[in-house]
Symmetry: C2
Subunit: 345 residues, 2 copies
């Protein structure tokens, strides 16, 4: 069974409205989630809808936040997100960064009291649509130990980056600084399979290939000590500088209890105009063309640029609809009954 | 035989002056090189002095550049380095980024017509000494293929980042986006040893463990496709946006001929004051303290923070002097004769 953008978007939006989220915010949160599914990142898609809704119902997320801004210096701002929905807070922050960059060439906005904001690429898209280079960072509940450490401290602390092109798809990078997504370990644990060496530590800081032990332990950083250094960089930008929670101080909407997650974020927009004007876009096309012309390595058919596969998925998904996981469908059906909102058609 | 900061610095400075570099620039270039040796990064130290000097003598680097600035928007600037020595151009760019950040909260400066600037951490130090977060990126002659590609396109495209602490050493990250430094492969080739799988491709794009073939081929990115994405990000910031050369357009001072390398760079300084004021420094200390308290993983004694080992090396090196490679000593002796400058004492 295939599901279509319009019906999924309308349903998710209705669910957010049903728990008190204003219409415009609800539509944006729905867009962030459905877009993740459509672009091939179901881990950040509607599989999270029920968790967001339940967190609002439990009082862990504030459906109607009052933002407070610290401003006064012209190219930067600091946002207190009042524990609002992650996508709502993140959109406000990136939009302000873009506004600052329009006038100043660069704009940077930090966020405290945010929440899980879905796929960070959603906010990169905002910058790219405005003709700008975008950068996004967020911390999250502990998953990665520092290199040499036996216990998780950093979140999967992603680095998201993008830049517009003239004729080509925008370049969009969105990567976790962990070696693998935790989802891969959850999958292995469910099917009782071992995980490769080098992925994870158990709860006593010992390397493990047992998926269940790994889930109680931590996921190693990408590229060993280098990934640790990058996770640390993300923590400084999104957590320390913003005044948000850091390390194990950061919670999750999946936690039991009512603790506010206290997530930190950082968004930067760079306006190419004062640097190069229109020439920037044609130089981006030149870069992509040159990369495409590189002969493939043994075992590869072609060389891709980050953002291309996502654009292909989106074109196909919007036209042909998408599949959803059985467990996600069950959750959506439950929400549909609860809010008396049909979720198909 | 141990060598001391003062004598090495004075000698390197004299060599730069001997080929027409102004005194202040000469002292700064000497500082960047000697500091790399003192902090345990000899690949970016005096082993490069002769190459810099020869490039000036061959007319590949301009010892007395006239910088031209493109400014007008308040938080950003673009610098044409007039093919000056990398450390001179990079210092001018980061200094301007710091100046902009003092007033605007953030400052960003791109560089075209730069050159190899030594260890990027040198410019991060400038930001950190000014109480700011610093970021530095540079492209370089081709070394890394895009993931799936069989031929080098990107340089080792480093990401350098740092932030000051209150009582602790500053956090300083300086990492190449390649899997390993090319130096490791050169070393293996010299001793006729194989290199581990996953490090390199040969010139036909096939995985190789033969060090000599790898040197004719390319070094794989760190963390596979993720490292490619980060090398691409660095290329966009330092090469595309700056108007510098990109990909194989970037040359090296080690190349034969007189082609100007055309290196691109990008520097960003972030002033924590408008975000958090003094609290930023104590929060940085808290971060470092929390990381130090994490129990070590199996096989590790303690958990270190990037920048600590470098600070230890520097303290020891300034006091006890340092060792130099035999090949570096030979080059220094040759320069000493040529310029009639004693290089010891």
């Amino acid at each position: 069974m295939r599901y279509y953008w319009d019906e999924l978007h309308r349903f998710a939006s209705d669910c957010f409205v049903a728990v008190g989220v204003p219409q415009d915010d609800a539509e944006w949160c729905a867009e962030v989630l459905v877009r993740a599914d459509i672009t091939g990142v179901p881990t950040h898609g509607l599989s999270r809808l029920a968790a967001y809704i339940r967190a609002i119902q439990r009082g862990v997320i504030n459906p109607r936040p009052n933002f407070s801004w610290k401003q006064g210096v012209l190219a930067v701002a600091a946002l207190d997100g009042d524990n609002g929905l992650g996508p709502v807070v993140a959109r406000a922050a990136m939009s302000e960064a873009i506004h600052l960059a329009e006038h100043m060439g660069i704009g940077m906005v930090t966020v405290r009291r945010g929440n899980h904001a879905g796929a960070m690429s959603s906010y990169i898209d905002l910058a790219v649509q405005a003709g700008m280079i975008g950068w996004g960072f967020t911390n999250a509940q502990p998953a990665i130990p520092p290199w040499g450490g036996g216990k998780a401290y950093f979140g999967t602390n992603p680095i998201a980056f993008g830049a517009p092109c003239k004729d080509h798809n925008p370049v969009v990078v969105d990567l976790a600084t962990s070696k693998v997504a935790r989802g891969n370990i959850i999958l292995a644990a469910k099917s009782g399979k071992p995980i490769p060496e080098g992925w994870a530590l158990d709860e006593d800081g010992r390397p493990t290939t047992d998926a269940a032990s790994a889930l109680r332990g931590s996921v190693l950083p990408m590229a060993e000590a280098k990934g640790y250094a990058l996770a640390l960089m993300v923590e400084i930008l999104s957590g320390v500088l913003s005044g948000a929670e850091i390390g194990p101080g950061v919670g999750s909407i999946y936690d039991a209890g009512n603790r506010e997650p206290g997530t930190g974020m950082c968004f930067i927009a760079i306006n190419p105009d004062p640097f190069l004007g229109e020439e920037f876009l044609s130089r981006m096309d030149q870069l992509v063309d040159e990369i495409h012309r590189i002969p493939p390595a043994e075992g590869y058919q072609s060389v891709r640029v980050p953002g291309e596969r996502r654009a292909q998925f989106e074109r196909a998904g919007r036209k042909e609809g998408i599949l959803l996981e059985e467990s996600t469908i069950e959750e959506l059906e439950k929400l549909s009954l609860e809010f008396d909102t049909p979720w198909r058609g």
